[in-house]
């Protein structure tokens, strides 16, 4: 009884969609996800539907599979190849209803094997040895190293983020080494996917920064072309972030909010990111228009 009510409510809820955005589709997906019946999930753990927009290059298929498997069951993948917003919105709600009606959903795409074989190794069978050695539970532990800010040498955490990270532009794979939440080293493993000029539209650029500032509703309003209703928006962006051609992140945000296009020379990403705290780094990346960011990342990647 309770279960049937729950399922009925679940079917009426806005569809939680996690978008894996391919080349050329960023603007369309960003506009699509402001529709009332859809909910933009910020993590795959919150999503039921994986929306794959456009043709992904084969190099990012591994990442897509990893992302797909991270969605909780039951889940569905939808591919969106044409530009028809009505049709895809309809497909998403139909798919969600099918999941609520008991459709089995998709199985994992990757084999059920850990990153490293660990079971039965080590004194407790946990895969580790000694104090910090081995690969306990399948992964090694972080080790200490140089720090960029205060010289306290604590652990460094190295990881690749992207290409479908919600806070990074689609396609960008960053290899970052973090110490705490400060980026010590950053390198571009893959440049963002090419996007048409539409992705540089002031409303979309402003909305990306507004989301990082915790203003989702305001971001949706700006994309729909309505006036912004929020306080302390430009003031919340620190001064001096990513200063290029005499404009910093705050200046670019206020230009976008006044519907002005911003053009900047592509910066040197490898010099821009290290030393900044994670949320500052995300603001820096979001404050660059996609065209500039893509050129910058390609230059860094080539170097």
């Amino acid at each position: 009884m309770a279960m049937t009510h729950l399922v009925r409510w679940a079917a009426r809820a806005p569809a939680p969609v996690y978008a894996a955005i391919g080349p050329g589709r960023q603007a369309e997906v960003e506009r699509l996800l402001t529709r009332p019946g859809l909910n933009r999930a910020k993590t795959p753990r919150d999503a039921a539907i994986l929306l794959v927009a456009g043709d992904l290059p084969s190099s990012s298929l591994d990442a897509l599979n990893r992302l797909h498997d991270q969605l909780p069951r039951p889940r569905t993948t939808l591919r969106w190849l044409d530009g028809d917003q009505e049709a895809i919105a309809h497909r998403i709600t139909t798919a969600l209803r099918a999941l609520c009606d008991g459709a089995a959903g998709e199985d994992d795409r990757l084999p059920d094997t850990p990153a490293n074989e660990w079971k039965g190794i080590g004194p407790h069978g946990q895969g580790g040895k000694g104090m910090m050695g081995g690969t306990p539970y399948g992964r090694p532990m972080a080790m200490t190293g140089k720090d960029v800010r205060d010289g306290l040498q604590l652990d460094r955490y190295t990881t690749r983020v992207g290409p479908f990270a919600p806070m990074l532009p689609p396609g960008l794979v960053l290899e970052v080494t973090l110490q705490g939440d400060v980026i010590c080293e950053a390198s571009v493993q893959a440049a963002p996917f090419a996007q048409p000029a539409e992705a540089d539209a002031p409303a979309l650029c402003a909305a990306r920064m507004l989301r990082l500032l915790g203003l989702d509703a305001a971001a949706d309003r700006v994309i729909r072309g309505r006036p912004l209703r929020a306080a302390w928006v430009t003031g919340a962006v620190p001064r001096g972030l990513a200063r290029i051609n005499d404009t910093d992140a705050r200046d670019r945000l206020s230009a976008w909010l006044r519907s002005r296009t911003v053009t900047v020379a592509p910066p040197d990403l490898a010099a821009l990111l290290p030393g900044s705290e994670w949320s500052e780094a995300m603001l820096i990346l979001a404050s660059l228009p996609p065209s500039a960011l893509i050129r910058a990342a390609r230059a860094t990647e080539a170097a």
Partner: protein, 197 residues
């Protein structure tokens, strides 16, 4: 009730040194403080009891942060024992407990409980303000000295330039193999998935 809480306080206190994860150790200690606070509330010391919970929740949060910052293997992913002079310590601990217990059990404890319905918080307030400004001034100066001392010691800009100037790595003789794997020697670095070339 008091006996149960006392038992819980002792058990969580014991768990502090028996868990692998530093976060669990800190918060086991916090639970020990919380149950001591609850005993305080039951023993007609509502302010001291609740304030213990308040203060210790905060202090153990900071404790957990520093434990994780400076302990190897902070999450206890590899089970470990990091003790020295183990027998001596056990002996000292047991001796302290036995000695104190004997003193408690053998000496006559005067019985003069807090009078029913006395406003202990207001009494404490009057005691703190007191006839002179002594308590507040002493506490203020002590805490100021602590604040300044903690900032000087912990921040990089000491009085004589950067504090890590001329520092060198430690001798690794004492702790066995504490530095573990060096950062560059393999293991898990082979999984780069390049894309978009």
């Amino acid at each position: 009730m008091i006996a149960l809480l006392a038992l819980f306080a002792v058990w969580t206190g014991w768990r502090v040194f028996r868990v692998d994860s530093m976060v669990r150790a800190s918060f086991a200690l916090m639970l020990s403080f919380v149950s001591v606070g609850a005993i305080g509330v039951l023993l007609s010391a509502p302010y001291i009891g609740v304030a213990t919970v308040f203060m210790m929740a905060v202090e153990m949060m900071v404790m957990a942060i520093f434990m994780v910052m400076f302990m190897m293997n902070p999450a206890g992913l590899n089970p470990m024992v990091m003790v020295h002079q183990h027998r001596l310590s056990i002996a000292a601990g047991v001796l302290a407990f036995v000695g104190l217990s004997a003193a408690i059990l053998l000496s006559p404890l005067p019985s003069d409980p807090v009078p029913e319905g006395s406003d202990v918080v207001a009494q404490l307030g009057h005691e703190l303000l007191g006839p002179s400004m002594l308590v507040f001034e002493t506490a203020g100066v002590t805490l100021l000295a602590t604040m300044v001392g903690a900032v000087i010691l912990s921040s990089r800009q000491g009085w004589f330039g950067a504090a890590d100037h001329g520092s060198r790595p430690p001798d690794l003789t004492a702790g066995g193999d504490p530095a573990g794997r060096q950062p560059g020697d393999g293991g898990g670095h082979g999984h780069h998935h390049h894309g978009g070339h």
